[in-house]
Point group: C2
Chain length 353, copies 2
C-alpha cells in the first residue's frame, strides 16, 4: 500500500511503527488535515457525516494528537509547574496533583534552593518559559522578590503565590495565620494558661514569623509576658532540641505553643524524656494538623490548615488566569480551624512549673 497506517490499529505491539499523524488520519478518512484538526478540537462547522468518518479513522489508526506539536503551534502546553523553594514542605503535593489533573493539566514539580540568587531564580523561570509552561504555582514562604520582580521574571506566564505575605498585591492563596494563631492562643488562655512558651518556625519564613508575632501580640494585649521562646526550623529534631532548651532554661511555663506539628512531635518526645506528662504537666498545641497528629502521644491539639482546599483554590485561580488574563489580582484567604485533642488541658492549680 505504500502507507502503513492501517496496520497500526492491529499490530499495536510493533514498536517500530510510527504513530499516526493528522495527515494519516486525513488520508484514510478522505478529508483534509484541517478537517481532522477541527474534529479533534471539537470545533463547529464539521458535518455530522464527516465527523463520524474522521472519528472512525482516528479509532482505526489509534491516533492521538502530538502534544509537543500542539504546544508549539498554540503556545499552550497544559503543563502547570509547581515551584518550591524548599522541598521539605512538600505536604500539598498530592492535593495539587489531584486538582491539576482534575482541571486537565499535568503537574511538573521542581525545587530551587531558598538560597538561590535572584539571577539563578531568573534563569530557572526563563527555562520554564521555554517549556511553554502554562502557569506557575510558586510556594515561596521566604519571599525573595517583590511582586513586581516576580511578574517580570515570569515573563507573562500566569502565577499564583502560596504562603505569601498577607495583603500582598499579587495573585495568591494564603491561610490566615493570624486567625489560626488567635484560635490557638485563645484556647490556651481559656484553659487558664498564663505562662506560654513557644517553639517558633524559622523566622525568615513568613508563616513562622506571623505565628510568632501574633502570639506575642495577643499575650501582650492581655497584659501577659510572653514565655520563653526558641526558634526551630519546622523539622522534627528542632522541636526536640527546642523543648529541651526550654526546659533547661528553667523559666516556668504551663503551655507550649509549637509552630507546627512536626516540631510538636519532637517536643513531645523531649518532654516525655524529661518525665513530664502532657497535658497534666504541660499543655502542647501544634499547627497544621498533619495526618499523624491525631495519633501522637497524646493526640495533638492543633490548628488545621486544609491543604486540599488550598490546592483547589490555587489551581482554580491559576487556571482562570490562564483562560482569562483579566482575572482580577487578589489574595484569597483560607481560614484555619482549631482541632482540640488531648494534648491540652486546664492548667493544674497545684503546681506550676
Amino acid at each position: 500500500m505504500g502507507h502503513n497506517y492501517n496496520l497500526k490499529g492491529i499490530i499495536m505491539s510493533d514498536p517500530q511503527t510510527k504513530r499516526a499523524t493528522l495527515h494519516d488520519v486525513a488520508a484514510l478518512a478522505g478529508v483534509s488535515y484541517q478537517t481532522v484538526s477541527r474534529v479533534i478540537n471539537n470545533q463547529p462547522y464539521v458535518a455530522e457525516k464527516t465527523r463520524a468518518k474522521v472519528l472512525q479513522a482516528i479509532r482505526q489508526l489509534d491516533y492521538r494528537p502530538n502534544q509537543a506539536a500542539q504546544a508549539l503551534a498554540t503556545g499552550r502546553s497544559y503543563i502547570l509547574q509547581l515551584l518550591m523553594f524548599d522541598i521539605r514542605y512538600s505536604d500539598p503535593f498530592p492535593a495539587m496533583l489531584y486538582w491539576a489533573r482534575k482541571m486537565g493539566y499535568t503537574l511538573a514539580i521542581s525545587e530551587i534552593s531558598p538560597a538561590a540568587s535572584k539571577k539563578e531564580v531568573g534563569d530557572f523561570l526563563e527555562d520554564l518559559a521555554t517549556r511553554m509552561v502554562d502557569g506557575l504555582i510558586i510556594y515561596t514562604p521566604f519571599p525573595p522578590f517583590s511582586y513586581q520582580e516576580m511578574q517580570q521574571l515570569c515573563r507573562g506566564v500566569p502565577f499564583v503565590l502560596v504562603g505569601a505575605e498577607p495583603g500582598v498585591k499579587a495573585p495568591s492563596v494564603v491561610f490566615d495565620q493570624r486567625h489560626g494563631c488567635r484560635l490557638a492562643v485563645q484556647h490556651l488562655l481559656d484553659l487558664g494558661h498564663r505562662q506560654i512558651a513557644e517553639i517558633t518556625g524559622p523566622l525568615a519564613h513568613i508563616d513562622a514569623r506571623l505565628r510568632h508575632e501574633t502570639l506575642v501580640a495577643i499575650l501582650q494585649a492581655q497584659g501577659l509576658t510572653p514565655g520563653p521562646s526558641v526558634e526551630g526550623d519546622f523539622e522534627v529534631p528542632s522541636g526536640y532540641r527546642g523543648a529541651k532548651k526550654l526546659l533547661e532554661n528553667g523559666k516556668p511555663f504551663t503551655a507550649l505553643f509549637v509552630a507546627n506539628d512536626r516540631m510538636a512531635l519532637g517536643a513531645l518526645c523531649a518532654l516525655h524524656e524529661q518525665g513530664l506528662k502532657v497535658p497534666e504537666d504541660v499543655s502542647v498545641i501544634g499547627f497544621d494538623d498533619m495526618g499523624e497528629a491525631a495519633y501522637f502521644t497524646p493526640p495533638l491539639t492543633t490548628v488545621r490548615q486544609d491543604l486540599n482546599a488550598l490546592a483547589q483554590q490555587c489551581i482554580e485561580y491559576l487556571v482562570s488566569m490562564i483562560k482569562n488574563p483579566d482575572t482580577p489580582v487578589q489574595q484569597r484567604n483560607l481560614y484555619p480551624e482549631l482541632i482540640v485533642r488531648k494534648s491540652t488541658a486546664p492548667v493544674a492549680r497545684s503546681r506550676t512549673r
Copy 2:
C-alpha cells in the same frame, strides 16, 4: 531597524516582546541558523571565532531554545513521568525530584486509581506517549499487568518499575523485603520474643504480602506459631484499629510486628490508650524509618528503607535506558537496614501477656 530582537536584551520587562528564535540569533551573529543550532547543542565543527560570535548574540538577545520545538523535532522532551497507582505512598517524591533534576530532567507526576481498568491505564500511557515523555517511573505495588503488557502499553517508552514483584523480568528497583523482614524478626527473636503479633499492610500490596509471608515463614522455621495477625492499609488509623483488635482478641503476645511506621504510630497510640507500656509490656517494631519515627513515644525500632538511594537508582537506571536502549533488563535490589531504638526490649520474664 525592522527587527526588534536587539531590544530584548535591554527592555526585558516588556511582555509584548516575543522571544528570540534561532533565526534572530543567526541574523544578529551573521551566520546560518544551523550554526547556531550547533552551538547550542555543543556540537563540534564550529570555529572558535564563530562560536564566540554566536554566544555573544545569544547573550545579547537573551535567547533560550524552545523546548517544545526541540521535543517536536527530536522526539525527546527531557521530561520523566512518575506514575503512581496510589498517591498516598508519596514518600519518594522529593528524592525522585532531586535526582531527576540532577540528571537534567523535569519530573511530572501523576496518579491513576489502583482500581483503574486495563483500558484506562492504557489510555493514560497513550497520553504520555503523545507528551513525548522520555521515560516512566511506575510505582505499582499492586501489579495490574505483566511485564509483557506493560511493555506493550508503554509503546517503547522506557520505564522502571518500583516495588515490583521480586525476580520479575523487568527493569525495576526494589527493596529486598525478605531481607528487611528477616532483620526485624531476628531482632525480636534475639530479644527472647516467642509470641509475635502482626499488623500487616494491605495484602494485595506486594511489599505487604512479602513482609507477612516472610514473618510467618521464619517463625514456622523456628518451630513457633505465628501470633495473631490483622490486616491494615498502611495508614495510621488502621494501625490504631489493628492494635485494638489484637488486644481485644485476647491472644497473648509480647511483641508486635507492624508492616510500616505509619501504622506503628497508630498502634503505639492504641497501646498507650489501653495502659500498656512500650517496650516494657509489648515490644513494637515498624518498617520504613520515616523521618518522624525516631521521635515517636517511644522512639521506634524499625527497618530503614533508604528512599534516596531508591530514587537515585531509579532515575539513573531510567536515564541509562533512555540513552542506551541496550541497557540490560535487570532488577536492582536495595537492602533495608535495622534501626534499633527504644520500642523493643528483651521480653519481660515476670509476665507474658
